[in-house]
Assembly symmetry: C2
Homo-oligomer: 124 residues x 2
């Protein structure tokens, strides 16, 4: 595998987290800090982050942009639901980021999909 | 379907675009404008956007955060590759955003996956 192909290959984790405590899903500052910790745990390099709160007690939407791609989250506190995605290329380990976020948000159940990205070009 | 369930249901399009002209993949300003146009075409509401350029002629990474979730893109000009994802909840139409982006970037081939998000709670 060439260096270019290795950089190109990535894994995208799509995680629907159900049954999360309401109070964990409406604090943009805490979620920003959690996703930054998750990026660090995965060995990724943060280039930027931004989190938007829709209002007191309401959901947040935000992203940590990485040199290796991104982690995003969108939350519905009233439903105890968080829609998370973690996309990382190169040597970063997205499963480590997911494990840290799940340990913190403590969902009752999670539905996880793991998608390879860009492999058809990497195989050329 | 309740209003809460409708808001909760979403569609996540994961799009790997191959064979894109190099010059289209390293202009952060043009990609920011394109993704904003795509959000508008889908009927989504933009709350924020940020695009990071890794350097002249190199890739960009960025996101448009929406009231309905997000559009993100990561590009590898040297490979003619863009990794795009479009996640929209509610009444927004992510396929319209994808069509506009594909029309502009004109990839030789695209690999698209369409994932439902959060439906297990919506069905409760």
């Amino acid at each position: 595998m060439t260096a270019a192909a290795l950089r190109h290959s990535g894994t995208h984790l799509i995680a629907d987290l159900h049954g999360v405590a309401r109070g964990k899903l409406c604090d943009a500052g805490a979620i920003d800090a959690l996703l930054r910790q998750a990026a660090a745990a995965a060995g990724a390099t943060i280039v930027y982050s931004h989190f938007h709160a829709f209002g007191p007690g309401q959901g947040i939407t935000g992203v940590v942009l990485l040199a290796e791609s991104h982690i995003s989250i969108h939350t519905w506190p009233e439903l105890g639901f968080a829609a998370l995605d973690i996309f990382m290329c190169g040597q970063a380990e997205p499963r480590r980021a997911l494990a840290l976020i799940e340990a913190s948000l403590a969902p009752v159940s999670s539905a996880i999909q793991e998608l390879p990205r860009g492999y058809s070009v990497a195989a050329q």
